[in-house]
Symmetry: C2
Subunit: 384 residues, 2 copies
């Protein structure tokens, strides 16, 4: 796409190794400083068209009747979009909970009058597939929600496995995937697995500053949204946004609400970087960095939160504070050495663990090796 407006070398700064916002590439940040363009200018129309076409590839979809969207907002807005457009009050939804964000999604659904059944996984594990099957056999659900990666536990769900069961047992149930910490780092086959709605946010593995809600919808889910009788939201209405996205993707201007020109331009730059290799190569690279870091943690005597490597996400690592080490003191030491990581947020494990994000740019820029060294030193210093 159009190159960034200038050559930028971002100033030295503490590295943000949290599960989003992640570190951004120089070109992505330079694109954030693109001079003003009208949202209906040929330049921006070309940028937005490019972005929307690339989203199809990002979600691994080739169905021309599915549709990608980019709205000003955050990942959370995607929950409202799903609740307000794909469901109606009184609908029953099965929520597979692997932590804080799964539960918050359930809360968002309830606000829209949706009846929610939650199956909660053991902390650090996924929901067993037989429990999903049982629930789907007992109750007719309008939709099921899967949090692909719940960053509170750093657990990755088996979206493919769950989808297979849904298709077998209850094919009319819509499959909704919260892909906020997965799209761009974990494999998601939108068409092949029969996903109906997948949402993410710019500041995660997509590699763009926060401010964009990004989602992708299947033909049947879109039909449901467009044919619904009653709108229950204006800003998050797919009836309003669908013609706009289709228009931009066809390189024609359209207006409902002003898009975030600069951040969408940065998204086009980031998608360029993402597709400088195949998506599968990108997943493999991030998995390799993740595996190496997790091994380093274990070599340092640390324990990873997920109960098994098979359910450990590749975009972040949740690690228990070791016995005898003060958590806040460790985070402070790491910060002094130039690394910002995140505390734990699972309510069952208060102050017991921390989280290191390594999606996207940081996996390519060698940040994790530097961080691992700082972690080792910090632990040594604290044990002295």
């Amino acid at each position: 796409m159009s190159p960034p407006p200038f050559k930028y070398q971002q100033p030295k700064h503490k590295l943000t190794l949290i599960p989003g916002p992640i570190e951004f590439s120089n070109d992505v940040l330079a694109s954030m400083a693109t001079p003003s363009q009208a949202h209906t200018s040929p330049e921006f129309i070309a940028t937005f068209q490019y972005v929307l076409k690339r989203l199809r590839k990002l979600f691994k979809s080739s169905d021309p009747n599915s549709q990608g969207y980019v709205l000003s907002g955050s990942g959370t807005l995607g929950w409202d979009v799903a609740a307000a457009n794909l469901l109606v009050p009184g609908d029953k939804v099965l929520v597979l909970s692997t932590g804080f964000f799964s539960d918050s999604f359930a809360e968002a659904l309830k606000v829209y009058g949706i009846e929610v059944d939650v199956i909660t996984a053991k902390v650090g594990d996924v929901v067993p597939l037989d429990q999903v099957k049982d629930a789907l056999q007992k109750t007719k659900y309008a939709a099921i929600t899967i949090t692909h990666v719940d960053t509170s536990t750093s657990v990755v769900s088996d979206v493919e496995g769950v989808s297979k069961i849904v298709k077998e047992v209850s094919p009319n149930t819509l499959i909704i995937v919260d892909g906020v910490c997965s799209i761009g780092v974990e494999n998601l086959e939108f068409d092949k697995w029969g996903i109906d709605f997948a949402l993410t946010a710019s500041q995660k593995a997509i590699g763009v500053p926060a401010g964009l809600s990004i989602f992708y919808i299947s033909e049947r889910a879109l039909a449901k949204a467009l044919n619904r009788e009653k709108e229950t939201t204006f800003f998050a209405s797919l009836k309003r946004w669908t013609p706009i996205m289709k228009s931009y993707e066809a390189a024609k201007p359209a207006y409902f609400a002003t898009p975030a020109v600069q951040t969408i331009t940065a998204l086009s730059t980031s998608l360029d970087e993402i597709f400088s290799e195949s998506l599968d190569e990108r997943f493999a690279k991030q998995a390799q960095v993740s595996d190496k870091f997790k091994k380093t943690c274990k070599d340092l005597g640390l324990t990873i939160l997920p109960v098994d490597d098979k359910v450990a996400a590749h975009g972040l690592t949740a690690v228990y504070f070791p016995e005898g080490v003060d958590g806040p003191a460790l985070l402070k030491k790491l910060s002094e050495k130039g690394f910002v990581v995140a505390g734990g947020i699972h309510k069952a494990l208060p102050g017991k663990y921390f989280r290191v994000g390594h999606m996207g740019y940081s996996s390519y820029a060698g940040h994790l090796d530097a961080f691992a060294k700082a972690l080792e030193e910090s632990l040594k210093e604290l044990k002295q």
Copy 2:
């Protein structure tokens, strides 16, 4: 606030003189390229605190129980926030319509089950105050909406005059102001006039790239939002966002959904620029540039859309295409000379006029003088 991360001179480009997105200053654009910061980092907390404190000044409010908000979104989201938090289905709202955006606000309200009465002004004029008074005397309205500047007509409403009448006739009616093209360019006295809710967007007179919904709420309106029984939105819920904003303003981290770190940093830079003089000085400067440009238009034999100079907004100018001049040809000529202006969007005047935005930076950078010259030349060339 913290200075932009580097010295930036934006590349030469066509000047965007539309009613938003406007042209941005070099420092604002440089701030968009701020390296990643955690949304809970001390650096970003300080930035966000500064922004929220400055919003009070921007809305001319000193009431500690009122509150400012910055959400990822567009101006449109502010309509949802008003509808979903301050009103309940069945409420009656009086909409004063001065054009396309007033009518769209009415449409947004209807989506939330609100009964809307619209008083439509003559094209290019405001709603006469006696009509407002009559309507308020006849019907009990939960709220009244005023579009301070409707960019489809470039008419500025007399918010002070309307507010006075509301306070006299129906003091319990909430006063909601769409200030999307007014905040930062037209005077709005939030406390003094007794406004309850005023909304704007970053890419207008605020001078920041699109992506932020900015609004300000009075104590009594906030109480209504916080005490309401039923939430009807998750992402746009003031119950969710109010503790977050109060927390950031008190320099404490909080989380509901990830804020747009870079765009909010750019907002802090822009507020620095805005408050490098008094707000009234800024209004006067922009009014002077606006008056001069409107006079130039008249000297060129052009006719301005507002029926009277007294109702003409100062942040943009809507001008009829002159007799015998092909509209699209004029816009094309202007674009070739390096200026992007906007076509008209009022449905009663299809293809009959164009709109020149001159909020904020362009008023200071001398863009309008250069544009006036290009306009004169273009008209000459087309008449040859």
